[in-house]
Structure formats: C-alpha cells, structure tokens
Symmetry: C5
Subunit: 354 residues, 5 copies
C-alpha cells in the first residue's frame, strides 16, 4: 500500500479536467456490455462508445462495465453519452478518492473500494470501483481486469435468483453485496494472520520482525476501516433516498448489506484491540526477557567478583603475608570462598531472584 | 473465544441463502413447543415443523424453542410457516451476528448473545439467541442444548408470577431478563478473577503469565461490552415502539432490564479501569524489581572492582617494588582496601541506594 | 471499595422480588417520622409501618426516614401504603444501583450516593440513599445509621430558614444540597492527600508504595465521578419537570445544586490530571535514578577494568619479561595506570556524564 | 495554583448564606462608581452602599466596581439594592466558581476569570470577576486591587472611541474584551517559556527539573483552557439572547470576542501538542543517553574481560607450565591479546555499535 | 513555524484598531486590479486606492489583489470604499487568525491559509489570504508577494475555461480550488519525507535525529489539519448559503473543493497513523538494540568471570597448594576452564539467547 498515489494534476488546472491517478498506466480500456431482462441476455464487447447510446432507450437493463481508466478520451465520451457531470468524470479517474455517494437528477454516483488480499506478498490491494446507476443502466468503472463479480455474471447468464427479473438497482445491490462479501474473505485472512502471529509471539519472541508485522496488521485494519466506514454511510444514504431509481422493495436488501458492514466494522475493531494487546504483550515479553538476562549477569557477577577479589589478595607478592605460610591457608581460603558463594546464593533465593 | 468464526459463505451467493456459521455442526436440531394460557399449559416435542402451523390460530401463547441451527431445511420450513423474511433466516444461522432489533409488520426480530462462563477453562462462552416475537407466539433459536431459561420454564409450569396471565411480549421480557441476570453472574466471576489476580500481583510479581491473564480479562470485558451495548439499544428501541405487539404496561419491565444493562456497563467500565491500573502496577513493579537487581549488581561491582585492582597491583612481579618488602605492607594494603570499601558504602548511603 | 457487591439474586427470579444487596445484613431497620409545617413539628419513632398511612392525608409535610434495608417485609409494606411500584422497591434494596431519577404519576423516585471519607483507612465509603417524593411526603431509604442530614433536622426543629414554610420539594432540595456539600468535604480530603503525595514524591521517590497510592487516588476519583455525573442528570431532569410536585420557585435552588455538581466535576477532572501527571513524574524519576546508578557502575567499571588488566599482565609468570627487571618498571606502570584513569575521567567529562 | 481553595462552608448551611472562599481575607472592600454619558463623567469613591440607590434612576450609565469580597455585609446590601438573587451573591463570594452566564428578568449575571502571569514565580494567577449587567448599570466584583481595566477607565475619561456614547452592554463588552486580550499576553509568556524549554531540552537534557517544568506548563495550559472554554459559551449565550439589555448592534462586538476565544483555544491546543511532544523527546533522549552509557560499558568490559582472563591464566603458579619458559612466550601472549582486542573492535564495528 | 506570532496589540485598545501581526514588516503594499468580462480584460497596478471606487459600478468583474498588510492606512481606505466592517479589517491584518467564513449583508468575508513547502529548510510556510466577495468584485489580501494563483491569471488572460464568462463567485471558487490543489502538493512532499524516513528507520536506527524528524512531521501534519479542517466548514457554509452572491450552479464546484478537503483530511489522518507507528517502531528498535548489547555483555562477562576466578585461585601464593605441583595441574585447569565455558554457552543456547 502506497501512502498516497502520485498526484499528477497540477494546481490551477481547469475544473473537470480528467487526470488519471494510479499505477496502471499500461492497462488498455475495454467496455463490456451485458443487456438483459427476464427473457433474454446479450453480452457484447463494445469497441466504440457510440454504440452505448442505444442502451438509453432499450427496455432491458444494461450493465456497462468499463475496465482501465487511463483512456481519458473514452471516459469523456461515455460521460457525454450518459450526460455525466464533468466533476464526476474527474472523480472516476482520481482513483485515490474516498468512498462516497452522490445523488443527481437522473442518476446516482458512488465510489466503492474493492479489496483483495495477496497471500504471497501478505499485502492488501485496493481497487476503486465507480458506479453510475441510471433508470435502466448501471455503469461500473474499474481500474484493472479481474473483479469479484464473476459469480454474478454467472447468475445473470443462468438466470438464477431474482436478478434477471429485477431492475438495475437490484444489480447494483448484488455488486455491492459481492464486494462486501469479499471484505469478509479479506478479513478472515487478516484474522488468520493475527492468530498465527499470536502463536508465534508465544514461541519465539526475540524475532524483531514481529513489531513490523504487528504494525502492518494495524495499518491493514486501519485501511479496511477507511474503506468500510464510508460505505456504511453510502448504504444508509441509499436507505433514505426518496426516488424511483431505487425501489422500496430493494431497500431491504441494501439494509442487509448495511448490516454486513456493521459486522465488518465490529470485527475490525475486535482485531485492532487484539493487535494492540499483542503489541503490549510483545513489549512486555521483550522487557521480561531482558530482566532475565540481567538477573543471570548479576548473579554470576556478584558471586564471582568477591571471590576473585579474595583470590587476588592471596596472589599479592608481599614478603610478609603470614597466611601464605599456614599449612591450612589454602583449604581455609577455599572454604571461605565456598561460604561466601553459598551465602550469596541464599541471599538471592531470599530475594526471590532464583 | 475465536476472533472470527469461519465464514463458509462464498462471496456472490444468492441473498437469503442460509449458511450455517459456527462450530456446532453435529448438533441435532430439535423443536420444543410450550403452549399456555392462564388456565392450561402443554409441552410438546415437535417432530415435524408442519405441526407448528396450528400455533398461529390458537388463543394460547406459543413458545417455540428451536435448538441447533445446522438443519437449514428445518429453519427454512419454520420461516415459511411464520412468513419470516429470508434475510432474517440468513441472520439466524449466521451466529457471528451482532445483537440487533428489527421491526417488521407482523413480528419483531432480535438477536441477543447469551453468555456463560466456563470456570475450568476460565473462558467466556457466547451463544447467539434469536427471537421472533409475533402476536401470540415467540420463537427462540439457540445454537446448542442448555440455556438460562429453566427457571422460566418452571415458573410457567407451576404458574408462578404473572407470566401465564400475560401475553407473548411478557414471555419475551422474562427471557431477556433472564439472559441479562446471567450477565451479572458472568461479571461476578470476572470480578472475582480480577480480585484474585490483584492479590496475586502483590505477592509473586515475577510470574510472567500475569500479563497474559490481564489481557485475557481485558478481552473478556471488551467482549462483554460488545454484547451488552447493542442490547441497551434493543431495549430502548422496544421502549419507543408504537405497536400492539408490546403492550404499554409491559414496557415498564423492559425499562427495568434496560436499567440492568446500564448497571452492567458501569461495572464493566469499572473493571476495565481496574484491569488497566493493574497492568500499570505490574509493569512498574517489574521495572522496580529490575532496578533493585541493578542496584545490587552495581554496589557489589563498584566495591570490589577497585579492591581487586589494588590486589592486582601488588600481584605484579616487578623486581623493584619496595612496598612488597615492607613489614607492614600487607596490613597497610588490607587497611587501604577496607577504607576504600567503607567509603564506597558511605557514598551509596548518601545517595540513598542502601 | 469492593469492585462489585455480592449479587445474591439468582437469574430467573420473579421481577419485583426484593433481594437485599449489601454488607450490612445485621442492621435493624428503623423508621423515623418528622411531621412539620410552619407552625409545628412532631418527631416520632414509628414501630409499625401501618402508622404511616395517616401521613397521606395530613396537611403537614412528612419526612419518613427508613434506615436499614434488609427488613424486606417492612419495605414491602411501606411500598404498599404509598403505592410504590414493585420494581422501585427492587431498586431500593439493590444498593449497587447507579444514581437515577424516575418520574411516576404520583411521585418521583431517585437514587443518590452519599459519600463519606474514612480518614483512618484512607477509604471512601458510599451509601445509597433512595428518595420517594410525593405530594406532601418525602421517604428516604438509607443503608445504615448515620448520615449528613443532622444540620437539616436541627434547622427543622429550630425553624431556621425557609424549610418549614416550604413544601416537601424544598426538603428534598435541602437533603440533596447537603449530600452535594458533603462531596466537597470528601473532595477536599482527596485534594489534601494528593498534595501530600506530591510532596512525598519529591523527597523519597524510591518508596514503591507510591504507585499504589496514586492508583488508589485515581480509583477514588473515578468512583466520585461515577457518583456525581448521573446526579447532574438527575438535577437537570428535575429542572425540566413540568409538574406540581416540584414548584417553579424551587427549581432555582435545584439549579444551584446542579451548579455545584459541575464545580465538583471540574475539580475531579483537575485532580485526575494532576494524579496522572504525578504518575508520569514518578515513573520518570524512577528511571532517572536508574540511569544515575548505571552511570556510576559504568564509570567505576570502565576505569578499573583496563587498569586491572595492566596489573594482570605484569602479574604473569613468564621467565622472559624484560620490563619486570627494569628499575623504573613499577613506577612507569603506576604512571601509565594513572594516565589511563585520568584520560577516562576526561572522556566522561566531555561526554557530560560527570 | 492551589488545587482547590479552602471550602469554609459547612455542609447543611442555609442556601444563600454568603461564605467567602479565598486567600485574600485581609483585603478591605471598596466601591468605585463611574457615572457617565456622552456629555459628562463623574467618578466617586462610594463609602456607603446606600448611595448606590440613586444609580437605578439616573439617565447615565453607572459602572460600580467593588473590590474585595470578604465584607459579606456590604455585598448583601448591594444585593438588596439591585435586587440580586441571594444564590448569585453566594456565587460572587465563592471565588472558586467556574465561569458561567445566567439570564434573569432584569439583569444578567456572569462569572469570568481574569488571568495574570507572575514572571518571577513563573506562576499563573487567576482572579474571579463577577458581572451584573442591568438596564443602565454594570456592577463588577473583583477579589483584589489591580485589574486589566485601566485603559478602559482612561478611554472613558478622555471620551475615546464609542464607549461613552453607548450603553452599559458596550461597557460590558469592552471589559470582557480587555480580559480576553490579556489572555493573549499570558499565552505569549507561556509560549516563550515553552520555546525556552525546547531549546534547553536540546542542550542539557540531563537536567531532571525539565520533567517538572513540562508538567507545570501542561497544568497551566489545562487551567487556561478551563478558564477560556466556558467563556466561549458565555459569549455564544450572549449572541443568542433576545432581550433589550444587549442591543443587536453590540452583538457584533461580542462575536468578535468570541472569535478571539477560539483563537486562544487553538493556540492552547497547539501548545499542548508541542509540550506533549517535548515530553516524548525528553524521555527518548534520556533513554538514548542511557543506551550510549551502556554501550561504552559493554565495549570496555567485553574487550578487557577476556584479556584479563588470559593474563590471569599466565599468572597461575603451576610448576609445569611450559609456555612460561618459552623465550617468545611473553610477546606471543601480548600479540594474542592484541588480536583478541582488535577482533572485538571489528565485531562491534560490524554490529554498528561504534 | 513559530508557535505564536508576536501580538503587538496591547490589551484595552479600541476595538477595530488595526494592528499588523506578522514578520513581514518591510513588505511594500501593492494593489493589482484585474477587470474582466467575457469580452475584455484589463490589468492595472493601482497606485491610489481611490481609483477602486470605480469598480463598484462597472459591469465587469473586478479582482482586487492587495499584497502586503502593514500599510494599515491603505487597508483602512479600501475598507471605507467597499464599506467593510472595521472588525473585519482588524482580522485581515491579524495574520494569526484561524480560517473562517462570515456572511454580511453585501459581501462575504473569509480567511484561508495558503500553504507552501520550503524543500531546503524542510519547513512548511503558511500565508493568510483574506477574501471579500461582493456582487461584482473579489478583494484578496495576501501577506507577501508570490502565490498559487498564477495559472488562474493565465487562464483569465487567455480566456480558457468558464471563468471569464462567470461571475465573481466562480473566480472565488477557482482561487480556493487552487489553494486546495496546492495542499495536495505539500501533502505529497510530506508523504515522500515520511517514506524516506521510514526507509531510513530500517537502515540506521541509531540516528538520534530520527525522533526529532518524526516530531517535526507530526507537527506539520497537525498544522495542516488545523488549516484544512475549518476550510471544510467554510465550504459547507457556502453550500448552505441562500443568497445571490453565490449562484446555485456554482455550488457544485464548491462541493467539489469540499470533497478535496475531505480527501486531504483522510490522507493527513493516514500519515499521522503511519508517523505514530514509526515512533513506536523506532522506540522498540532502539530498545531491541539495547537488549542485544546487553546480551553480548552478559554472555562475555558470565563466561569469563568464573574462568578468571579459577585463574585467580591458582595465582595465589600459598606455599602448600598441592595442585600446583601436579604434573597435569595446568592442563587439567585449562580443561576445567574449557568445560565451564562450553557449558555456559550450552546454557545460553538452551535459554535461546544465542
């Protein structure tokens, strides 16, 4: 996760100027159109955006999925066809935007973050998905190929569930639901990581990389919260809408997704508490270990330093040291040393250091 | 307590698809029906959910208690009979859901956590209980056998108190009250644990498991709060209801339960403050002990290191060292050593290290 | 202060069942009645609760003070006479309840904590006082003998101030005011304790009991806040009342008590900041002292360890060590040792360790 | 700053009983009256409060400034003349009261803290000023001689600005403005103190008084915030007033003072952040210094301890130690010692400890 | 960044007295006027403020940009011409004011901070810009030469975009937008600094300047937030305006700037979390390093201290020490020493210290 994507836009640009913000410069933009109603479904790879004009007048629901945001011309053309405000187009390509929901006269605009977890790199990836929901169409803008919507495409093709019989708002719901369901998957991976790290913490605490892994988990959880929190508000905005674009009988479903976001927030908070606790345990274990090391040093040093001093005294070369000539001098000194050492040990035991 | 229960649901599933989330896969689902009014009470083990249809038209209150949530078919059938919305059924079997209250046209749906404390493992267990309160019935969904409702069953059988004369809303109240009363029991156990740990802290601080027990207590208190906090909102939602399902004269009782949840929250906050304080005292005691160890090391070392040096000097083998031939050389050196040692001790006393 | 009083109530008890919660099981319950109006005042020791029925119809104000809450029968009888709701009676004897205010049709119910400070044990004691304020009576329930109302009894007897000319609401105000004034006394004692501890901190920091005294102060302040905070809300509830039980010209007085609670909260917050600061200073002083110890050790050790090494070298018994035979060997070595020692000292001085 | 001023009031005193709270018992109370309108201005030293009765009926604006609050009789008399509520009089002499604003029928009452900074003692002093604003008079109560209003008196005398042409509300504004302007002066002194301490921190970190000075700054900032925060609410209350006492065209000025309080709060928060950061830097510098000390000890000790051991080995007096008889024994041992020492140094360099 | 700019204003000054607050005393004030409409554009260097009177009646939009705030007379004259309230003029020259928005009858007044980043000094600079937006004019007050508006001047001259066809409110929007776009640039620099510091942290942790750089980053982020947060409220105030000065079709643009401020706040919060995490990692790495040092000391000391003691024993000069005469005495002692050393090492390995 980069802290901030490179802002190529120069201050003072004309408002509504599209500036692509992101790392996926090389991606070729493609438009995939799925036209469906209860009876039929047609999938098209649209080459020329002009073809999309037809969607506006059809009696089918059109799901226009645009992948790749660096073909600014294409996006401007789509914007003209569906009469999307230039400031929205600016937001669509500004892939660093926070999730939001905006109500316009003929359509709703919303930005949502799609999260995936890269198991190899233990990294969370975030992709911005923009939705423009109109009367009988839904336009989705994604940064790169690959998304979490395949099961929905399958459901559309095989006419499973209610989605083919319902309007564009229901399609919008199923896509949001799919994104949120995917949050659970990511969260599970993080929870597993956390549990692994927790076990690791108990076994091999000296590993100094633990600190960094704890902080990485923390950052991922913060990022997760930053993606989910505004989504909650998007969903509660949808619930409060008074309009024809989102039918009242669809709202129950959006409310269900709303509920899921609360569950996610709950788990995120839970995990943050656990990770913070782990940090405390880590720091305290490190400092306990330090204490143990210091105690061993102290015990060894305080026992042998006085003994070495005694040995030093009788190593002096004075000519007149009567003890040196005593027959029992040596064994007496050894006995003295022993008793000093033992009394030291007893002292430590009384102090409960042993 | 697992951080997060395994989410078996795959992203993109049809909404309203039941997916059991939990560790109690092997539990056989059972339905126990208690039909009562002021005059009579009948208890039945229902084998076939179809039998429940009769409940809708009786003039008695029916308490349908379903234990075991992995027989998804059975739950769907019950859902059809009582016309429960598929999204509610999804929540019933999603046992990781947070407590909530939802108002529907003909019934209320609520999720509550039932807590028990396993004294052996020093672990808190949480079981999700879902309530569907209708005009003359109350359906409760539990994960496993065993609950805190036995005294209420007894009261129903022996016709004690008002419960037999009242409607389903009063039964609903008594069950909630029983769950909340049980929170007090769990909290008492935690409070005892805390007091024990506090005493332990004063006696044998070196025990490095204290840190972990403190964190375990903290986590249990956080979990407790997460269970009780939304319950408060459930109860205040019930208080604001304008409907026939909950009579106004019952509301006073719900308000009393609400009051109890506030008392629980208060005690939980209190305990958290105490546990946090314990952590501080623990860390400070550990570091004080460390200081004591270091001081002993310093005193021993700083006294004997110079003395050993003096001994070393007179252990040198130079041929021309006049002191070595002095008659009083040895006693003089010993006297010097003594005075160095004593002045060191006086220095330490002045520094207040002794 | 116990963390939590023993909850004897078993889960699943009938609602409204009185269960005494507290440590004062042996206290005999007594009822003292003071009947007064502007002209006369009569004090009675009531033996039989039935005598209280007369109070309801008198034109005087009746202050019924019940001490001792474990005679549950007596309390139930009083409850019947004044038609107090069973859930209130449950709260009266549940002496662990948080302060609250409840409006009923014919009376108001409120719980307040009366705090006293035991100077010997340096402990704060809390006693729950319940008030039932009716048209022309005020019932007070206390846990044990002894309260802060003696000056008010005196004022009533000697007809000082307005209290004899006013209604029961004014009596209610004077009692609350007296409880809050007593909070100031307790707070003053805590403030003195804090100042003493602050002075102590500067003189004899090694005292490891300081940590515990700091935490005790912190806990007392938290307890104080928990008692005063809800009292504020009680008083602001009284201010918003639209009823005859509390006259508008009395409200000004309640507002004055409200003001005092704010002043108390302010001082409590102030003291908490100071106590937290003391903790920081304590920890930093302990660690500074540790540093001083370490520095002395380091200086002594780093000076003498090299010197001892030099002495050791010339204590070796090699036959061919030319220096040993030099006439100036010994003085040269001593000079070398001196210069090593002095340069070490200069090094430390440059490092600003001395 | 004392934590809490001595509360002489005994619990259970009659409400409205004046009790002076403060340390300025010996101050003689004086009354200074300034009567003015656009044409004339008369200053009088009032000896007898009765003379003030005339103020009520004059067509001039009367500024009655009372200094010294321990002549309770005088204050009660003033209270009677201007019909001030006894509870207000109680607040006036209770100089530990928090700032507040109260609206009465004929006048407004407000308490404000006047802060000054004693540069010698590096102490902040606080004096309580009470304002009673009536139709054509403003009464100010101060604790001691000396205030920040001299420039306003001058302005009145010389008829500078609008104050002589305006009503009592404008005088009230100028006094508040003057108090708030003085807050800036105090804040500047604290900011300078902070900068000095910050510089000091970089130069001579071992000074253990730094910790206490940091905490003193923190406390002063907390005290400042406690004085300014409620003042903001006073000013926003004045803005919302719908009354004749404060004219609408004056409100703009009060709004300007309100703005200044926000600016003060901002700077206070800023300073608190800085002071907190200083604490962190201080603690970290102390611990870095400790590390440096420990490293020197470790390097010296780990180099010489093995060397001393080698010397010790060849200082043993065994008869059969062949090395002792080698011609090259001594130089070889010296070479060994050198190489051990050098390899130790290289090891430390690789570890980046040097 | 100075904590607080010198407040030259003395308490008790007449309200509305202009006092310049800032460090740019020597800057000569200049007035630059740009008059434009869709057809023409005229730029003038105004010498005499009187010339500005004409602006009020023209049918063009006048952008009056005043640079340098210490010519108080000039500012007062401008104030008279455009009938700006004296308290606003006071705020314009008080360059320490927080950002705010005020609605007056004929114009709006707003204060905004313009931030730039000095790469050499790694310092953030802040300049206060005041806007007075009237019917057909916009007056901007800046402290010094140089701003972020050059691209807008260019756009005006070359008639790019809508700005020439729109009213003064749109010009106001473009200037705000330009200031906010510049915040992104500053934020990017800070983000780069943060990343550099993060990398630095991993390589050369001992650098004690890291702590200070971390705190500097923290302070810059706090300053950033203090500038942006009130700007958000300014923009949302503009959105809620019901007036002709800001047209409804312009509001969409202001809303877009509002959105950008949220994005900035988000990134600022993100960066603060990262910087706080860096501080933790830094402190923990320092303490880990300390532990490593201590472990090496302990291992070396605990191995050699006992060995040195043994050598010392056989260095004693007792006449009767039988071991000294043993043929195998020396090799046996060496073997003992070796085995003691090796068993120590094994002990350390078992303790996982190696």
């Amino acid at each position: 996760m980069k802290i901030m994507r490179k802002q190529i836009k120069q201050p003072g640009l004309l408002p509504g100027t599209l500036v692509y913000v992101g790392d996926n410069e090389g991606v070729k933009s493609t438009i995939k159109l799925i036209d469906y109603n209860a009876e039929k479904i047609i999938e098209t790879d649209v080459q020329n955006p002009e073809e999309l004009i037809a969607c506006l007048k059809k009696d089918t629901v059109s799901w226009i999925n645009i992948t790749g945001l660096n073909d600014l011309e294409l996006i401007e053309k789509v914007g003209q066809i569906f009469e999307i405000h230039p400031l929205i187009l600016e937001d669509i390509v500004n892939t660093d935007h926070h999730p939001k929901f905006e109500e316009y006269d003929d359509y709703y605009y919303s930005i949502v973050k799609m999260l995936t977890y890269n198991d190899q790199k233990k990294e969370m990836n975030s992709e911005q998905v923009s939705f423009v929901l109109g009367e009988n169409y839904l336009i989705t803008f994604q940064e790169i190929e690959g998304d979490v919507f395949d099961s929905i495409r399958e459901r559309l093709r095989k006419n499973k569930g209610r989605v083919r019989r319902e309007n564009a708002d229901y399609l919008y719901y199923t896509l949001l639901d799919s994104i949120v369901d995917n949050y659970f998957l990511v969260l599970e991976t993080i929870a597993e990581e956390t549990e692994q790290l927790e076990d690791h913490l108990l076994i091999k605490v000296t590993d100094s990389s633990i600190m960094q892994r704890i902080h990485q988990l923390k950052r991922q959880l913060i990022f997760m919260r930053k993606s989910v929190w505004p989504l909650r508000e998007i969903l509660s905005s949808i619930d409060r809408l008074e309009s024809d674009l989102v039918k009242n009988n669809s709202k129950l479903f959006f409310r269900d997704v709303y509920d899921h976001t609360i569950q996610i927030m709950d788990t995120v908070e839970n995990l943050r508490d656990i990770v913070t606790g782990m940090l405390d345990i880590y720091l305290s274990t490190v400092s306990n270990r330090m204490n143990e090391v210091m105690k061993v040093l102290t015990i060894i040093a305080t026992i042998f330093i006085p003994l070495t001093f005694i040995a030093g005294v009788y190593g002096m070369n004075f000519q007149f040291m009567p003890e040196l000539r005593w027959k029992l001098g040596y064994p007496l000194v050894l006995a003295t040393m022993l008793s000093v050492g033992v009394s030291m040990l007893l002292f430590f035991r009384r102090k409960k250091w042993l």
